[in-house]
């Protein structure tokens, strides 16, 4: 598909990636505003994709990719807005760099480019923080885990190309998502399985799913809300891989992504619930919340409820900056936490309820531990609500309060407006 301006899609990742090196040297007073301008332009370019109908040999703005691109740009914009008073040039450059790589991953029409995007974002989030002493040891451990995951994903990419080349012929076609779906029925099942096993292991690392979630805590200091964007982008790449696998030769090649996502999702929800219960801080940190949502979304996608997975990831991306980065009025922050805790009437509530219902109908044995883990996680998050609600309003910023309310309104609309449900179904159908 080539639209009015085929190169328009390249603008979306290019804007933040080109702006990031300049911001590295920008003075702190100017960095936040320049970063906001770059994020605003990126968001506008992402929103314009349906009209530009952009596509080239390597990038493509399909419905799921565009949806995730808009959300990632919005998360970046919100995060920079909320952190504008303390943001240094280095931090702004890191955030924009990570954002650019994530946009590349979700808009890529190539397995290699998608893996490169995830790798770039993960490395930026892990490396763009001060090191020394224990921080270095922690960063090294997290980096080794991430490098192992990315290495496996790269090996999987090579194996996938090797499996595809006899069918698609040599060149870029061998790694294009759309060409792979067409070629998959004629590919050797064993070749496809081997490639998928490596890719699943590698991309699950980027999604932060258990048992390869060890890097989440190390990256949270730099990444902030962009950690959620990384998990969401990785899940989208996993779903695209699942689409290739589903189109594979009969009998279906193993490992089937559905059961793998179910298992990883369930484990992640259980570990996140335990992590949230053990938290002794004044408020819950970002890593367990991201792990919980990544697990929920993976479990939903494993059950075939892809639209619920998109709702959950979207809710996390919209709500996390309002909760974790902003300094709004305490009651607005409490409301953001209530929405993150999957309480009604926000978007996550309906999606989580739907996933539990689907689990009871389709996988009753998994529904019990899943429901238990979810209930514990919700209770662990909700225990912070009374304290937050009664907290003094001193230090709250009006600009943050207004922006956080706007994000909450989006999460609310996604939960109660029927058109939003249709949109998420359209996004999920865009994959199949």
């Amino acid at each position: 598909m080539t639209g009015a301006w085929p190169w328009g899609v390249a603008l979306v990742p290019a804007l933040p990636l080109l702006a990031a090196p300049g911001l590295w040297f920008a003075p702190a007073a100017l960095a936040a505003w320049l970063a906001l301008a770059a994020c605003g332009a990126t968001l506008a370019a992402a929103v314009a994709q349906p009209w530009l109908a952009g596509a080239d040999a390597w990038l493509r703005a399909d419905a799921p990719g565009t949806h995730m691109a808009v959300l990632i740009a919005l998360t970046g914009l919100a995060s920079i807005w909320f952190a504008r008073r303390t943001l240094t040039g280095h931090a702004a450059a890191a955030m924009l760099g990570a954002m650019g790589f994530l946009l590349l991953a979700v808009l890529a029409n190539s397995v290699l480019l998608a893996v490169l995007g995830l790798e770039g974002a993960l490395l930026v989030l892990l490396l763009a923080r001060p090191l020394g002493g224990h921080a270095t040891a922690g960063a090294w451990r997290a980096l080794l885990l991430a490098v192992a995951g990315m290495g496996l994903a790269l090996v999987g990419t090579v194996l996938l190309a090797r499996a595809a080349i006899p069918v698609t012929g040599p060149g870029a076609e061998a790694l294009r998502w759309d060409a792979l779906v067409r070629a998959a029925p004629r590919m050797a099942a064993a070749d496809l399985s081997l490639a998928a096993a490596f890719l699943l292991a590698g991309i699950a690392t980027c999604a932060g799913l258990v048992p390869v979630h060890g890097w989440l805590a190390a990256a949270s200091r730099t990444g902030g809300a962009l950690l959620a964007a990384l998990a969401g982008a990785a899940l989208l790449v996993l779903l695209r891989l699942g689409r290739v696998m589903a189109a594979g030769p009969a009998p279906a090649p193993a490992p089937a992504p559905g059961p793998v996502l179910l298992a990883l999702g369930l484990l992640s929800v259980l570990v996140a619930a335990g992590w949230l219960v053990r938290e002794r801080r004044r408020r819950p940190g970002i890593p367990p919340i991201v792990l919980l949502y990544a697990g929920l979304a993976a479990f939903a996608c494993g059950l075939g409820r892809t639209e619920a997975g998109f709702v959950l990831v979207s809710a996390l991306l919209v709500l996390l900056p309002a909760w974790a980065v902003a300094r709004p009025h305490p009651r607005v922050r409490a409301t953001a936490l209530a929405a993150l805790a999957l309480l009604p009437p926000f978007a996550g509530f309906g999606a989580a309820l739907g996933v539990v219902g689907a689990a009871v109908r389709g996988q009753p044995w998994l529904a019990v531990p899943f429901g238990l883990g979810l209930a514990v996680a919700v209770a662990a998050l909700a225990r912070y609500l009374p304290g937050l609600w009664r907290a003094p309003a001193a230090g709250a910023r009006t600009g943050d309060t207004v922006a956080a309310l706007a994000l909450l309104a989006l999460a609310l609309a996604a939960g109660i407006v029927p058109a939003a449900a249709h949109w998420f179904e359209t996004v999920a159908r865009g994959l199949s």
Binding site: G132, G133, A137, L145, A148, A161, A174
Partner: protein
């Protein structure tokens, strides 16, 4: 009918590359195995592994006449044969603490798994009769084993080099593989990230993930 000097040199280089490529890959697999087994790895071990990887990719670049592979060879040489060994000078010397037998069994298992996965009639559906992929896949798995089983940063960094080197050589061994240079850059970025952490912080010993 005249035979030019350039033609003769080209033919000789091709013969050398055909012989040198497999030798370099085999040497790199042995170096990766050594990185897993040695109690303490040195700058020399890292440099030899990086140089063998670069040589293997260079030979493949000549044989395929691929500019992308030539770039990849340069990237591999710069990061793995020079950059990482230099970064290892910043690391406090430490040795592997897990028993040699455990590491040896893991290494043999990694090689056996790579052969099983790529052998005709076993794992992959007969698409690799010459087992051309077994060596790089084995090297990648050896690297993974070194990253998991060693707890000294230098040994783990050698594991990273083996993992990424195996990936690049595997890509070079697949005829028609798109974006080999890009993939080599991606692999180099992973090694470079390790270099950055090793250089920026004084690494304490015993940092197993």
């Amino acid at each position: 009918m005249g035979v030019t000097g350039a033609g003769v040199i080209g033919a000789v280089v091709t013969v050398v590359a055909e012989a040198l490529g497999p030798l370099a890959v085999s040497g790199a697999v042995l170096a990766a195995f050594a990185a897993l087994l040695l109690r303490r790895v040195s700058l020399g071990n890292a440099a030899v592994l990086g140089a063998l990887l670069a040589l293997a990719v260079l030979a493949e670049a000549w044989l395929q006449g691929s500019l992308g592979l030539l770039v990849a060879a340069g990237v591999v040489a710069g990061t793995k044969a020079v950059g990482l060994p230099m970064a290892l000078r910043h690391v406090a010397p430490a040795g592997a603490t897990r028993p040699l037998a455990v590491r040896a069994v893991a290494g043999v298992a990694a090689i056996a798994l790579a052969i099983a996965l790529t052998a005709p009639g076993w794992g992959v559906a007969g698409a690799d009769p010459g087992l051309a992929l077994a060596a790089p896949l084995g090297m990648a798995l050896l690297g993974l084993a070194a990253m998991m089983l060693r707890d000294d940063p230098a040994g783990q960094a050698m594991g990273v080099v083996a993992l990424e080197g195996g990936t690049v050589i595997a890509a070079a061994a697949v005829p028609g593989m798109p974006g080999v240079a890009l993939l080599a850059l991606a692999a180099a970025a992973l090694s470079a990230a390790c270099v950055a952490v090793l250089v920026r912080g004084s690494m304490p010993a015993g940092t197993a993930p």
